[in-house]
């Protein structure tokens, strides 16, 4: 090191040099660590997932263009009414950021609700049914039946509905999805032993495609939601999705069981088993809401809009 050559100054004066050198090395070490940690953690995962995420990102961008054309001119920025004492700089940039968002935001999914009194009535009923009947039974079921068994049952039912999803995918022209559903159905029914095991994902790595149903098929044909409707026990739906549910029932093998009570029993058991994995989710949504009815309605509409995009 250069400073060590400076023996002329005497050994006593080399310590500040060493101190600076030490500080520099510590900083350089920290910098290297930050960069390494950052670069290792994010791109390792990002690189693996980027391929998957790109199609989703593209789909996300589509609605942005749509809302961009609907709102021809960007909204005038609201006058920054900054409370006295607040840094003008940060207030200004918040306005800018929000103006961006407003221009780009997918419009909050608006569906007419002409049957609101009926809907609110059944909403209250379903809420009570869930909290006082469904939830306790699901908790009891979960306490008694081990998770592995319940997962297996979930797989079984999911596999059973494969023909319906296959049909929906074909009707939407999603050939790749249909192919995967078919392949998974064959593999899981045979290797997965009647569908209890998800051999397709675990052994052959045929990943589960997003679920398709007849309601989404109708959406892809350009049929609008219609209006919002809440059914007893079944829960929130729309005119279009209700037609979708009926279509699925017709196509499904489960509903062909005679007597009808058997089919109902099987479907109810599937519902119970699925619910055992989602205990607490419904409460999370409604407990934090000011108006649970609107919260659930908006959740359902956003969720279905998103599913239709997948």
């Amino acid at each position: 090191m250069m400073c060590f050559r400076r023996e002329g100054g005497g050994g006593g004066r080399s310590w500040p040099c060493l101190l600076v050198l030490a500080v520099f090395m510590i900083l350089a070490g920290c910098a290297a660590e930050n960069q390494n940690a950052g670069q290792a953690a994010v791109p390792a995962a990002a690189g693996a997932r980027l391929a998957e995420q790109k199609p989703v990102a593209k789909a996300e961008r589509k609605p942005k263009f749509v809302s961009g054309t609907i709102m021809a001119a960007p909204k005038p920025k609201p006058k920054a009414v900054a409370p006295s004492g607040q840094a003008g700089g940060s207030q200004q940039s918040l306005d800018d950021l929000l103006a961006d968002e407003e221009a780009e935001d997918e419009p909050v999914v608006r569906v007419a609700d002409p049957l609101e009194p009926w809907n609110r009535f059944w909403f209250v009923f379903n809420d009570a049914f869930y909290r006082h009947v469904m939830n306790p039974v699901a908790r009891g079921y979960k306490a008694v039946v081990p998770g592995d068994y319940r997962s297996a049952v979930q797989n079984f039912f999911h596999n059973l509905w494969a023909p319906v999803r296959f049909l929906a995918a074909i009707l939407q022209g999603k050939i790749d999805t249909a192919g995967r559903e078919m392949a998974r159905f064959v593999v899981n029914t045979t290797m997965g032993v009647l569908g209890f095991g998800d051999a397709a994902s675990e052994i052959l790595e045929i990943e589960r495609p997003p679920d398709e149903d007849f309601g989404q098929t109708l959406a892809s044909w350009g049929i609008g939601n219609g209006f919002y409707i809440v059914w007893p026990i079944i829960g929130p739906s729309t005119l279009r999705d209700s037609a979708g549910l009926v279509g699925d029932m017709i196509a499904s093998p489960v509903w062909d069981l005679k007597p009808f009570e058997a089919a109902l029993g099987v479907r109810s058991y599937q519902y119970l088993n699925d619910a055992s994995f989602r205990i607490g989710d419904y409460e999370s949504l409604t407990d934090a809401a000011l108006d649970p009815y609107t919260a659930v309605r908006n959740f359902y509409l956003q969720y279905r809009a998103r599913e239709a995009q997948k």
Binding site: M1, M2, C3, R6, G8, G9, C17, V20, L21, F24, L27, A28, C30, A31, N34, A37, G38, A41, V42, A45, A46, R49, L50, Q53, A57, P78, V81, P83, G89, S90, S93, L94, L97, L98, D100, E101, E102, D105, V108, G147, R150, S151, F277, R278, G280, E283, S284, D287, A288, A289, L290, D291, T294, A295, R297, N298, Q302, Y303, R306, E307
Partner: protein
Amino acid sequence: MLEAGGHHTPAANQGRRKQMIAKRMIPWLCLVLLLALAWPAAAAPQSATQVLKANLDKFIAILKDPAYKNGAKQKEQDDKIWEIINQVFDFEGVARRALGRNWRRFSPQERKEFSDLFAKLLAKTYIKKIKKGYRDEKVVFTAEEKLRKNKVLVRSKIVRRGGDILVDYNMWNRGQGWRVYDVKVEGVSLVKNYRAQFNDILLNHKPAYLIQRVREKLAEQEKQKHKNQ
């Protein structure tokens, strides 16, 4: 510095001293220069994902800390958690987006009141839920997408049996570091969900009424908390 056959004239001495000073300066200058180059790297800003992950880790550490198992220490734990949440969530931005166009109807004082109350409501509700329901689920950060100059989308998933839950965080940096301004669970935006509720309420009522509703809801949460304790 003894040179062979040194010339010790005063002029030469002065020249030599200058040379010595200059030579002594060089290593210092080099070090200062190197420091200047290293400094920006050392202070390299963390990516949004790193900020989120760091705070999440801190949050989980406090959640699992056995020192807070005692009922009496709950308030302390909540305060610590609130500190972290306030840092990584931009509640002012969340409140403004949740009100959307209705923000203009609020007076400056009402805006502040609303932002504060809404922040408290969100934090208290979700902290309570997480405290009750957390069972060591792992959070995996899957991707970070750049949306605009100062905005990113951080994708993550909560790994749990019965199906993973996809959670996306919209984050922006407006001079206070990366902070979250929207959370999407399974594609459903939290801000939009509240906006739908607030829109409905504000169609037929004044801003003060909404503030009152938020306050009532907050009080309800407090009452429930004390009941459970």
